[in-house]
Symmetry: C2
Subunit: 751 residues, 2 copies
């Protein structure tokens, strides 16, 4: 744990520039608007260790798969989010010398990510020789105007003598990915422009042999400033404009850089990018920075009104939950059905790819409650759009139906570990579960009987082909899988995977009754095929242990040495940093909820006794070395009225990045696991469930809190749920009357 | 299958230059003398597709491990046999134009690898304009003078007019590995010399960050010829000498190139290489080519006298077995304890590394019988020398004791697939088995109670730490292994691995009684530790199925869909080219003997009924997609008197490369599996066993053969075993009287 920010309800605030933790500070001050985003690196020159990262949603490069030993079925490429052409960098010169905090003397440093506004502020007083200048930065990528990056800088001369100020503004295609395999550059410059009015650079991703479309981006910058234009310059891979002026003692000057970013993702004809950029530039050019910023603040206010969570009596928890929601919304807010939620969002390069099963398992339930249903539906639609890729992936494994990828940008699998790519197929179950979850929550059956059914049929057919019949057991089994617990690979009959596969077959068969005959015919879905599904369901092998009264993680699990984590010498933890992979695989230690993930999905379908036995068996073996693990345990513990355990697990998820728990936040934020703290509060502490179309709550308040409030969007209503030690209250803020169930009692809510 | 050579008892002979199969012809005409070797590429210029490959035993480069996803325990580098500085290439000009069979007209092409002599011959008549010249090549690397490569060429002018002949002889460091990751060159030139007397080039492998010593090699060439020296030349990475002369009509001239190859492997002080090369050069300089060649032929005659196998009535089989022995001996003849038997020997680059468990499992039993015991002992000693590496490897997996590597040059594991590197640990069992096998065969206990004991203790300690105790079963188990059947990975309780591990513990404990107290103390081997071993042995879990009466390959095997190979549509075969890895892993199909490998190792320890039940259960599920598979099945089938099956399996191993069965011989020969045909004949057809210090035979003759003869070296005797349809005869060629058992009857053999 490393806390380098102040505790503040709405701000990520620091008064220090810890040079050894510069990357961590950058990660934590990332901003984004789904369309694009960036780490909190400085605009101005910084010669110390830093990770400059600017990313555009859905702009990527297919990097050739490199493995020591090829295995049939491996994908041809690994999709990599690439660092965009740099439109942020500036060089600031005072009396001819570049400001560079890595070497300069400075005081009054402050950085502040205002989560309420969605604006990043930074300021300091720098001394260059006799000159002393206060520099104050503001920047945002607009939630109201997606193509706009806005940056304003105030310079105030604090010295007695005049100061010569010079600012050079760049657009620079000379960028690298830190995770590039061979120091490859992914951008080639197509066109450059640099004049007094604007600088612009058009670039295209380099060619690839995989038929993946090349992306073209155009960045155009204009500058609003008291400074005077000096020189516009084009170099090999960059353009720049230098502006300058004199600051008298005590005088202030302002500099604004506004960049319009357009890409070929939005314009089929890449030649239209120039005109589009001009239009967009013109659209904002006459507006003041303050007007543009007000629109940004208003957009965020609207989001917060739907989603804010207030925690009374625990400012750390308060900051944690808001930070998580802020970064999650910065990454994704459902505005583009072609996008998804990458595990690091716009805050780093690790993991490549944009889309993991995290989205369906962890993000959909949150977006269902904190945003309009369209946001979640857009996430479902994303998978429908990528159904051809899923069929391709199944075909790569010689299997029928659709296999959704572990990692992808375009539906085609792009991960290349056989034990994950070929085996961690439970992901298919979560894709189906998200459809079920959406339908249950919204009451809207139009998706599941429409496009959703296409997805379900593809998934059901995959499972029906992936099982095999074991004569000896007169049962259908599933060998060679990796469950959510990636600390075991290539196991047989993972209970979670089998359970989900069985459920998928049943659910698809049920939905097949509800869809039109035309829809069934479209898929050639015969009664024979459905009866085969039912046969598989009837004989689906699910490992259980009667003596222990538990579902068994997989066939061999109980043969392990089942020493609980608590009996390990703590020096071994985290296992993934201290043990060989071999030792981890053979151990009983569970990276993240596996059997318990299945119980969580269908939490109302198991008896409290069964849930308790499984929780008490598996939780002591769980090391929670995935950031996705604690929240599921928190919710189940709350369900089992193990409140202390629920709070303990919550604590592991709420400030994961703010306190750098895993000591890796310098690489970027854990975006998808940011849902965990919200899920823990709402589904855990407040016990929110949807049962037969009704919202249920059964709240409690953690000991150390005074109370908490959160917003819930449900079927056209906006609710404010207020939980205090003395009791809970639910207000209907918007929408028609609604009957809910609170602590087992029906309550009618009126506006 | 593709046969591009004539059937001949002693020769690999072709009268064609099939340009599309040039690489295949090169592989098949490889020569070697353990110290160095080369593919059969041409000396002269050839502009068509070809793979120039020259390798020096034990000269390698540690190539940085590249994997998509790092796993704790992976080795830092992959050891790669690197293409040596090219000392073979020549350019031959006739009337100023280079001879190049890729484009020139030629007739009377013939290439002949004489396996009796160990000499490669080649000749043709080439037409260049009006000139017509017969060129005849001979070359060998000397089995009698390891540093010597000798090359003689006769030029005969068949045209009516005189012909200008020019030969340029190179030593060229500008070489690549075909399997290099990034077109990297591994040699840097240290020194060059080119004058009328000799040309020489000293080169060093490039630096590496792994502490692996860099190798320095020095090639020095002198030329004996009727041609006159023209120019000596040094270029950036090469040296050359050009010689020329005129051939009158009908006139012949001779050109000889002799190269001395010395390396820093043999001279601790690399500065001594020059003096060493001078000495060696001088040593042979006064000898004629014919004298040098006679020494080569004599050395091979000696080998053949000890090892030849004669097959009567089947010339294809005859050629097959001699080719296999020839290439095996070319790769390894036990002259350097630091060397081992790479799967492709000096014939290609695939697989990297020099040493696999193939050596102990397949090569040691052969060398025991066809060479002096020192050859096998040298192979054992190799592993003893690498014991520190084996301890390192176990440590990499957080385990005690010694884990011999899957692939190595220096004892340090250099393979990087977790399912192999971390899991295919049965290899450790074969290392111990080879010690047992040597001891049983030779009757010499000095190794096993000396250095061998060090190896056994390391291995036993590994197994004792690698098992875990399963409370539920009150048994020791071994999870997470890959057996010899690499078509299953990460399985639990592989019968073969468990059986071998259990045997290792028992055997080491037995030997511990025989070694000195000092030796036990040296290892700190206490009675407590040995009693722990005995406890593990007593409770070692071995999966068996009572109903089927078989040993079970691993815990989950019988739950599979056990459809036999014969019921598969043949279009699916070979599986490794037609199925996804996922499908292969989940299938019941066995790449190579697994349970049956264990039964083979201890063939006398199981009842015929047990052997039969296991053979009949597993063989129909086996696809033999490893070249190491058929021979084990052949031997077991012969043991079970299933003669047809034994012959069928033999046929799959005997001419694997000669007929290019697997369609991959262009990459190089399958050196280690070449033992298989010999094992099938001797241990299979002739039923050779060693029981309580006595040789046993129980021979039969395959239907299509008239008979066969082979040599056996056993405890100071040389036997000739002659098997004919009418009966078998065993002659003692050398050594004292010996009692053997033939078809169950004791026979006393006298010289």
């Amino acid at each position: 744990m490393k806390r380098i920010f102040d505790i503040d309800a709405w701000k990520v605030l620091a008064h220090d520039l810890p040079k050894e933790d510069k990357r961590l500070q950058e990660s934590m001050t990332s901003i984004g608007n789904e369309y694009m985003g960036m780490r909190g690196m400085f605009e101005e020159t910084y010669s110390g260790d830093s990770h400059k990262g600017i990313y555009l949603g859905g702009v990527w490069f297919p990097d050739k798969t490199r493995v020591g030993w090829w295995k049939n079925g491996y994908p041809d490429y690994f999709g990599k989010a690439i660092n965009a052409v740099d439109f942020v960098s500036l060089d600031i010169k005072i009396n001819g010398q570049s400001v560079d905090l890595a070497v300069d003397s400075f005081t009054d440093y402050q950085v502040c990510l205002d989560m309420k506004e969605g604006v990043l502020y930074r300021s300091y007083v720098v001394t260059k020789g006799a000159a002393k200048v206060k520099i104050s930065f503001e920047r945002f990528v607009s939630a109201a105007f997606k193509e706009l990056y806005a940056n304003r800088i105030y310079f105030e001369n604090l010295s007695a003598a005049p100061v010569e100020l010079e600012v050079t503004s760049f657009i620079d295609a000379n960028v690298f990915n830190e995770d590039a395999n061979y120091d490859q550059q992914f951008w080639q410059v197509l066109a450059k422009k640099a004049n007094q009015e604007e600088i612009a650079l058009k670039a295209q991703t380099i060619a690839n042999p995989f038929g993946v479309p090349q992306f073209t981006t155009l960045m155009t910058a204009e500058h609003h400033t008291d400074l005077a234009v000096q020189t516009a310059k084009e170099s090999d891979k960059a353009v720049s404009l230098t502006l300058a002026g004199q600051l008298a003692a005590g005088e202030s000057k302002v500099f604004e850089k506004r960049v319009i970013v357009v890409t070929s993702r939005d314009y089929e004809d890449a030649n239209r990018l120039d005109a589009a950029a001009s239009d967009l530039l013109a659209k904002q050019s006459q507006q003041s920075f303050d007007t543009l910023k007000a629109a940004q603040v208003a957009a965020w206010a609207k989001r917060w009104a739907k989603a804010d969570v207030v925690i009374e009596g625990d400012d750390e928890a308060q900051q944690g939950i808001r930070f998580n929601l802020f970064q999650l919304f910065s990454t994704y807010y459902g505005q583009d059905a072609r996008l998804n939620i990458g595990p690091k969002g716009f805050t780093g390069e690790k993991y490549g790819g944009a889309t993991y099963w995290d989205t369906e398992a962890f993000a959909v339930p949150l977006f269902l409650s904190v945003a309009d249903p369209e946001v979640s539906k857009t996430l479902l639609q994303y998978r429908h759009n990528q159904l051809p890729g899923a069929y391709h992936n199944a075909g790569q494994q010689d299997l029928a139906g659709a296999l959704y990828p572990m990692v992808t940008f375009n539906g085609i699998e792009c991960h290349n570990e056989w034990e994950i790519t070929f085996e961690e197929i439970h992901r298919n179950g979560s894709i189906a579960y998200a459809i079920y979850n959406y339908t249950r929550y919204t009451g809207d059956e139009s998706y599941v009987t429409g496009d959703g059914f296409d997805v379900l049929v593809g998934i059901a057919r995959f499972w029906a082909d992936r099982v095999h019949y074991s004569k000896r057991h007169d049962a259908y089994m599933m060998h060679g899988v990796t469950g959510p617990n990636e600390y075991e690979n290539n196991i047989n009959n993972n209970w979670y995977t089998n359970f989900l596969a069985k459920w998928c077959l049943t659910y698809t068969d049920q939905i097949a009754d509800k869809v039109s005959e035309a829809k069934r015919d479209e898929h050639g879905l015969s009664s024979q095929e459905r009866s085969k599904w039912r046969d598989i369901v009837a004989k689906f092998y699910l490992p259980e242990d009667e003596e222990l009264g538990i579902f068994v993680q997989h066939d061999g699990f109980l043969d392990k040495d089942l020493t609980p984590v608590a009996e390990l010498d703590p020096k071994h933890l985290p296992l993934n940093q201290n043990w060989s992979w071999d030792r981890i695989l053979r151990s009983p230690y569970i990276k993240q909820a596996d059997v318990l993930q299945g119980i969580y999905y269908f939490i109302d379908d198991f008896s409290q006794e069964a849930k308790k036995r499984n929780f008490e068996f598996y939780e002591p073996l769980t090391v929670h070395e995935s950031s996705l693990s604690p929240s599921i345990h928190s919710i189940l513990a709350a369900d089992l009225q193990m409140e202390d355990k629920a709070v303990e697990m919550y604590a592991r998820t709420a400030r994961l990045d703010l306190d750098n728990y895993n000591n890796d936040t310098e690489d970027g934020l854990h975006i998808t696991s940011m849902t965990g703290s919200w899920l823990s509060i709402v589904q855990g502490f407040a016990g929110m469930r949807v049962r037969e179309g009704r919202l249920h709550f059964a709240p409690f308040v953690p000991q150390s809190w005074n109370g908490y409030q959160f917003h819930i969007n449900f079927r056209g209503r906006l609710l404010l749920v207020s939980v205090a030690k003395e009791g809970s209250k639910i207000d209907l803020l918007e929408g028609d009357d609604l009957t809910i169930v609170l602590d087992g009692q029906e309550v009618i809510l009126s506006n």
